[in-house]
Subunit: 339 residues, 2 copies
DNA sequence: CTGTTAGCGCCTTCAT
DNA sequence: ATGAAGGCGCTAACAG
């Protein structure tokens, strides 16, 4: 009485070949996605039969034979960081538009975990690797170069491997220049971790703007810290603790830091936008939705993602820098006359 | 003069066999990860040789032969939603601890894209599928059941396929009960999209708490909307527009909604925690770091992830519900005497 | 353009 | 416990 329950057998080239009266290799060739599709009689028929039967190429068999898999691996520290999620989604879109599939692995901030995750991805026969994890002192890119694994770095670089970056120097300049143009002279900068190229470049750009304006930023107004909200909160608390040395504006090298600074400002009784101006970086979607919408420097994730895929086989030293855009919002305003 | 640059040939079982003087099949058996490792002389030697040579199993060949791949596919609408990123990272951890690999695909809110992404994952020969996308009216789970694809739903259910959920009813009750216990009587509820089981269950739980306390919630204080910040902002603006009907507390069925409500409250000149209490849901890390830390109901993502993997082959109708935890913070306080 | 043939690297009977 | 042999499904040389 029980209904028959076969494990539905999967359709192979053999089935399609049999059903359309040609050989397996003919079908294989016709269904090859890498070549321009033939417009012959048989080709059309075979394609139709394959479709009717619901044929799907067995990626393992195909990959085994071809040696390539049509997939790339993406390594990020964590996806719960919105910046990394945005970066990955952009890579996923760029990959899809090229007919490849992006596989992600997360590895936290631990170099050992980074190696492990890399091997895991390589074991899955990815055709290339995109890393959003690079530290300036990282040895992983070097080992990938030595092993001739096609790869590209995004957002951060080790200075050697092909890298698709945002123009962090210019972005830092935009942010600082925006504050300068609003009349601020007492400006603090909170940079990210010093081992990231992005933190250094954003600070360098900000310094250029300050120099141009003849503004001197005392060293206690430059804080190097993590990239998390709590780091921004701590740095902000420090900056706002002494009313006599309090800056009228803060450039935080990332939106999370900025959000932490905003919280610190409120805790110190300061009105963000009025008493203190704050600029973030990356323009994560949340930035625009905060109670006081955050001025931020928008990173061109899609452009960076596309470049990264282009750079997979590029020679050492190749770097692209996507120009960011300053998005002014309510968190920054002209310095108050009282300033 | 140029250094020889071979494409480093990859080590296969054949190489290991040759180097250790046994047959390929012997090596294959010894290196089989599914069986308890043998402690024989040869076994040890072979393992050592494999290690020295840097042997790594070719997953394509192995998968082709074995028919299973040691990987599961995870489908989420987007990873830029922190809740989904948390869910995926939890699944990734749970999978890793079982020696399997989690492959993610994003599909937005489009059912057609959901089908496409599902096929993409199945094409990659995943051994099972975890979906965080289910709508109550979704036909995808049904089609997976029909095709006998091992799968489990997380966070949301269609009511049929095996599902690993949070106990949303209880969580909704906790949130509402917390507000009731603080003395609030004028409470509004902002639920998520009505096609999600989570939105309905959270509202049902809240209603239970209100009923117990004999509190009547007028229908214009129950708003069904999206799950994004802007939805919360709009709903909040509506709730706070008329001072005469303004609630003293709001339960938002998700932290993003709550963040939007907070922004709306501030825009209406209300002091969150003092003038109006707000509870969120999921307790994303950001919740604790906001200027006014947000009371939220913490979802047990790790537990849900582990259950989901257990449920992959479970019979239709199996459901687990992980108990959430209310985390009280500054966004909720006793109703003011003036209330 | 088509078919034949020979593997890709691995796993799994089957026989020893 | 080991080795020999066959084949998973597909593709790439080679002929026609």
């Amino acid at each position: 009485m029980a209904e028959e329950q076969h494990e539905r057998r999967v359709v192979t080239l053999k089935d399609v070949a049999a059903a359309s009266g040609v050989s397996i290799s003919t079908v294989s060739r016709i269904l090859d996605d890498r070549t321009r599709p033939s417009r012959s009689q048989t080709a059309d028929r075979v394609r139709q039969v394959a479709d009717e039967l619901g044929y799907r190429r067995n990626m393992f068999a195909s990959g085994l034979r071809r040696g390539a898999t049509g997939s790339i691996g993406v390594l990020v520290p964590r996806l719960t960081d919105n910046v990394m999620a945005l970066m990955f989604e952009a890579i996923e879109r760029a990959a899809r538009s090229r007919g490849t599939f992006a596989v992600v692995a997360t590895c936290g901030d631990d170099p050992a975990d980074e190696r492990r995750a890399t091997e895991t991805l390589l074991d899955r026969n990815v055709d290339g690797l995109v890393l959003a994890t690079a530290r300036l002192d990282d040895t992983l890119p070097a080992s990938l170069r030595e092993r001739r694994v096609p790869h590209a770095l995004v957002l951060r670089t080790d200075g050697v491997s092909p890298s698709a970056l945002g123009d962090d120097e210019e972005g830092g300049y935009f942010a600082a220049r925006h504050l300068v143009d609003l009349g601020h002279r007492d400006i603090a900068v909170i940079t990210g971790p010093w081992f990231t190229s992005s933190a250094r470049a954003r600070l360098a750009g900000a310094r250029r703007a300050f120099d141009e304006a003849g503004i001197d930023v005392p060293e206690h107004h430059v804080i190097s810290t993590g990239y998390g909200i709590e780091s921004g909160n701590a740095a902000g608390a420090l900056l706002f603790s002494d009313p006599s040395t309090r800056p009228t504006a803060v450039f935080a090298a990332n939106d999370n830091l900025a959000i932490g600074v905003v919280a610190a400002a409120r805790a110190a009784g300061l009105d963000v936008g009025a008493d203190v101006s704050i600029v973030g970086y990356n323009d994560i979607p949340l930035a625009a939705m905060l109670p006081v919408p955050l001025t931020s420097v928008r990173t061109a994730f899609d452009q960076i993602a596309a470049s990264a895929l282009d750079l997979l086989e590029a020679p050492v030293g190749t770097m692209t820098r996507a120009l960011p855009t300053l998005i002014p919002r309510a968190s920054t305003a002209a310095v108050s006359a009282a300033g």
